[in-house]
């Protein structure tokens, strides 16, 4: 069953309007936080809820917040990550368009928990409308006194700003995002130091995905136990999955973690259309091991009319294009891989190419500054393992085993 917690009001007309949001209990969690809770109590509650990051890496959210030093006099920053550029992922956009105040409220509570007075929401540049709706929500929140100075008479100050990006996937990676927000090229930083210690302007900073942040007011309102009662032992709560590709009913579905993938694909998604069978699934999430279900929540379904070399060509093209170029294995490796795989797909592959691809992959894996390099490699390795004969077929027969000829209607 779908478990609509984040999505409870997603189809409610004008949920983006602060008055409607308020009529659904909006900003009660923020008021409760400010008036009745200490930052430590908020962090504790989030820790107990078991909430983990929804941006890909799945890091425990409360724990991340607790890394921010308490004895540091520097300003602290809270950043909502809405760069959403992982192929197959489009859940943050839905939240921003239909329930932006949930994100604003979650960002406010998170900022309070780490003692931050300035929050930024980094929205990918192409998302003009979602960014506009976030800006509008923030304006409304200021007007009602939920943001700004002396919020609700508690003396707490918090400013919030939407910052739009420039069309680079890498800027979703948190340290590249920080550089981008500082007005530099969006290149990843070496860690340590971690952003919690030296982030934006070298000040303590927490970066959270906006879906993670949207869950925070719900946890404050309903309690950690309520949240932890959903999901599995290891992965608590709910998560939004973006179901796309060869599927009858594509869309964003919120599920309790631990729900079988087959339920999402067959029961909710209606399975593969046009009488074809499923050949493969690409789960999304650069920072997670390939094949694991969580990640960023992308589930891309591929039917049996699809050439896997063609699929991999698309993906490596993407990663090569998005490599920020900072480290050699990723910059050079993705370029080589793209050349080799393109050649293969064109029927010009040569004996030994697959071994060459294997070895380039090995040389990238684990040797890069940020996980983009690994992300580029993992689908290739996985496809070479599961569909090796299809790759070999391209070399032996100079063409595809199955032709991916998809025509839009």
């Amino acid at each position: 069953m779908e478990k609509k917690v984040l999505f409870k009001y997603i189809d409610f007309p004008e949920q983006a309007n602060i008055n409607i949001y308020l009529s659904h209990g909006g900003y009660q969690a923020w008021e409760k936080t400010l008036k009745n809770m200490s930052p430590a109590a908020v962090i504790d509650e989030i820790k107990k809820s078991g909430l983990r990051g929804r941006g890909g890496a799945g890091f425990p959210t409360g724990l991340k917040w607790s890394f921010v030093p308490k004895d540091n006099s520097k300003p602290r920053y809270l950043i909502g990550n809405a760069d959403e550029s992982e192929p197959g992922t489009c859940k943050d956009r839905v939240l921003m368009e239909h329930d932006p105040h949930a994100i604003v409220e979650g960002m406010a509570i998170a900022a309070f928990a780490i003692g931050s007075h300035q929050a930024f929401c980094y929205v990918r540049g192409e998302f003009v409308r979602p960014a506009h709706l976030m800006e509008k929500a923030i304006e409304e929140a200021y007007a009602k006194g939920f943001l700004g100075n002396d919020i609700l008479g508690t003396g707490y100050n918090l400013n919030m700003t939407v910052h739009t990006g420039g069309g680079a996937y890498i800027c979703g990676e948190e340290t590249a995002l920080l550089n981008s927000l500082e007005g530099k090229r969006g290149m990843s930083r070496l860690r340590p130091p971690f952003p919690a210690i030296e982030g934006l302007y070298l000040c303590p900073t927490v970066v959270n995905n906006v879906e993670t942040l949207a869950a925070v007011p719900l946890i404050i309102n309903n309690g950690a136990e309520w949240y932890a009662s959903m999901g599995t032992d290891k992965s608590k709560g709910t998560k939004i999955f973006s179901l796309s590709g060869h599927i009858k009913r594509p869309g964003n579905y919120e599920l309790e973690l631990g729900t079988p993938l087959s339920y999402l694909i067959n029961d909710l998604g209606g399975g593969v259309p046009d009488g074809h069978n499923m050949k493969a699934i690409i789960p999304g999430g650069s920072s997670t091991p390939f094949g694991s279900m969580l990640g960023s929540g992308a589930v891309i379904v591929i039917n049996d009319q699809t050439c896997m070399v063609w699929v991999i060509e698309r993906l490596i093209h993407f990663y090569r294009h998005e490599s920020c170029g900072e480290c050699t294995p990723c910059r050079e490796g993705t370029a080589w891989l793209e050349q080799l795989i393109e050649r293969l797909e064109k029927g010009k592959g040569r004996p030994g190419d697959l071994e060459k691809i294997d070895s380039i992959c090995d040389n990238i894996l684990g040797r890069t500054i940020c996980p983009l390099g690994d992300a580029a490699v993992m689908p290739i390795q996985s496809a070479l393992k599961l569909f090796r004969e299809e790759f070999q077929y391209h070399i032996d027969n100079k063409r595809c085993l199955v032709k991916s000829e998809f025509v839009f209607k």
């Binding site: 003009v128 996937y169 796309s244 891309i300 698309r314 209607k409």
Partner: protein, 166 residues
């Protein structure tokens, strides 16, 4: 000056959101690109004057971000997502269809300077594939019929001098 008063005012408004002026580069580039349609060295220079930071810092940042065209484009920039979810639902044939309808190849601008056609990576609308972005707006779950209508509407509105907004 290329940037008009409205853009300059918008950039100044953005500036006050940041304690470090350099952070306003990306917002400033966004404002400039929305006005002009593309970016160039002269625009970087003007932004560097407004933000009071070195020209090179603006130019360097701008060069990294592919979303901003660095050469003039047609009145409407059509960006087709060719990434995997869209490709599985016919993005390549969608590009061919647009090429045919506009009489240009990917990467080109139509002779009437109305449309530039390019293909881009995932736009975060994968569950509504295939999709395109024209200027600021997303067009999703596309069919031939929808494309025909969208192009007709844009041609008509540019004849009337009316601009679409999201």
């Amino acid at each position: 000056m290329i940037l008009n008063d409205i853009s300059i005012a918008k950039i100044r408004q953005k500036m006050i959101c940041y304690t470090v002026r350099k952070s306003a580069i990306l917002p400033a580039l966004t404002v400039a690109c929305r006005q002009v349609g593309h970016l160039n060295n002269e625009i970087y220079r003007e932004i560097s004057v407004i933000l009071e930071i070195p020209y090179l810092e603006v130019a360097e940042a701008a060069s990294f971000y592919t979303m901003f065209p660095k050469k003039p484009v047609g009145r409407h920039l059509i960006q087709v997502c060719h990434n995997i979810s869209c490709a599985l639902l016919g993005a390549d044939s969608l590009i061919s269809y647009l090429e045919e309808k506009l009489g240009i190849k990917k990467g080109e601008t139509s002779p009437d300077n109305l449309f530039t056609l390019i293909s881009v990576e995932c736009l975060g609308s994968c569950t509504s594939a295939p999709m395109i972005q024209i200027d600021d707006k997303y067009y999703e779950l596309l069919t031939r019929e929808k494309i025909d209508r969208i192009l007709d509407d844009l041609k008509e509105s540019s004849l009337n001098g009316k601009e679409s907004s999201f």
